[in-house]
C-alpha cells in the first residue's frame, strides 16, 4: 500500500504556475538589466507589465501591484473563479507639450494582469487601496479554508 501525502488541489495547481512565471520574470529581469540599458526602453518588448507581490498569513492574502503615477479611477480590479485581475490604462497627460523629449523610459497605455489565488477567498470582503503608486488588495480567506487550520496540541 502506498501512502500519498494529501495536497490541496488548488495549491498543487498553483505551484507550477508560480514556478513558470517566476522563471519568466527572471528572464525579463535579465533583459531589463542588460538589453534595456542599451535600448533605453524597457517597454520595447511587449509593453507594460506591473510587478506583483503576493503575501499571505493565516486569514488573509495580500496582493501588491506597482502602478506609479495613476489615478484611482483608472485602475480596475475584478475577481472571478479564484482569479484576481488588475487592469487599467495609464494616460499621458493631455496637455499640449512644446519642446523636446530627451528621454522616455516610462510606459503609458493599457496593462492587464491576472493571478490565481492560492486558496479560496471570500469575494464579498475584498478590499483595495491605492497609495504612493502601490495598489494593495486584501483578500480574506474563505471560512472553509480557515476551518481546516486546526491547531493540534501534542501532549
Amino acid at each position: 500500500m502506498k501512502l500519498i501525502r494529501y495536497q490541496d488541489p488548488e495549491l498543487a495547481a498553483w505551484q507550477p504556475i508560480n514556478r513558470l512565471s517566476s522563471l519568466r520574470e527572471e528572464m525579463n529581469r535579465l533583459l531589463d538589466g542588460s538589453l534595456a540599458a542599451f535600448t533605453g526602453n524597457a517597454g520595447l518588448f511587449g509593453g507594460w507589465s506591473p510587478s506583483i507581490d503576493v503575501h499571505q498569513d493565516k486569514d488573509t492574502i495580500f496582493v501588491k501591484a506597482e502602478l506609479p503615477g495613476m489615478k484611482k479611477e483608472e485602475i480596475d480590479i475584478s475577481f472571478q473563479d479564484g482569479m484576481l485581475t488588475i487592469s487599467g490604462e495609464r494616460k499621458q497627460e493631455s496637455e499640449v507639450r512644446e519642446g523636446e523629449n530627451f528621454r522616455s523610459e516610462r510606459f503609458f497605455g493599457r496593462f492587464h494582469r491576472t493571478i490565481s489565488m492560492p486558496t479560496k477567498v471570500d469575494a464579498d470582503k475584498i478590499k483595495a487601496n491605492y497609495k504612493d503608486g502601490i495598489l494593495s488588495v486584501e483578500l480574506p480567506k474563505a471560512a472553509e479554508v480557515k476551518a481546516k487550520q486546526i491547531e493540534v496540541k501534542i501532549s
Binding site: N18, S21, S22, E25, A42, S51, I52, D53, V54, H55, Q56, D57, T60, I61, F62, K64, E66, L67, P68, G69, M70, K71, R97, E98, G99, E100, N101, F102, R103, S104, E105, R106, F107, I115, P118, Y130, K131, D132, G133, I134
Partner: protein, 127 residues
C-alpha cells in the same frame, strides 16, 4: 587577466549573491519653454522618503521605500524590494537654487528651471 581573476576571487562570496542595493527608476526628461521636467517612477516611496542633492553639476535622487515591511509570508514576489537611486549630470544653464520637487502616487517630478540668462526672450524693435 590573472590580476582580474585574483581580485574577483578575493571578493567575499556574499557580495556576488546579494541583491542589488539600489534599483534604477525609469525616467522621462523633456524640455519646456523655461524649464526641464524630470519624472522618475518610484512606487512605494512617499514625500518624506525622497532625497534630492546637487553636487558639482550632478543631481542625485534617492527614494526610500516606506512599504518594505510586509505582512505574512511570501507566496510570490516580482518587485525588487529595494530603495531607488539615480544620478544625472545637469547642464550649467540650470538654476539649481530653484529646483522644485513634487511627489505624487510614486512618481517624483522635478522642475529644473533654466537660468534667466539662457531663457529665450523676445526683443522688440524700437522706433
Amino acid at each position: 587577466m590573472k590580476q582580474q581573476l585574483s581580485t574577483t576571487t578575493e571578493r567575499p562570496v556574499e557580495s556576488a549573491s546579494r541583491l542589488p542595493a539600489w534599483d534604477v527608476p525609469p525616467a522621462n526628461i523633456r524640455e519646456e519653454h523655461d524649464a526641464y521636467i524630470l519624472e522618475l517612477e518610484m512606487p512605494g516611496v512617499n514625500k518624506s522618503g525622497i532625497e534630492v542633492t546637487v553636487e558639482n553639476n550632478e543631481l542625485t535622487l534617492v527614494g526610500h521605500r516606506s512599504d518594505l515591511e510586509t505582512k505574512g509570508e511570501v507566496v510570490y514576489q516580482e518587485s525588487r524590494r529595494c530603495d531607488y537611486r539615480r544620478s544625472f549630470e545637469i547642464d550649467p544653464s540650470i538654476d539649481t537654487q530653484k529646483i522644485v520637487a513634487k511627489m505624487e502616487q510614486g512618481v517624483l517630478r522635478l522642475t529644473l528651471p533654466k537660468a534667466e540668462s539662457v531663457k529665450p526672450r523676445k526683443i522688440t524693435v524700437g522706433d
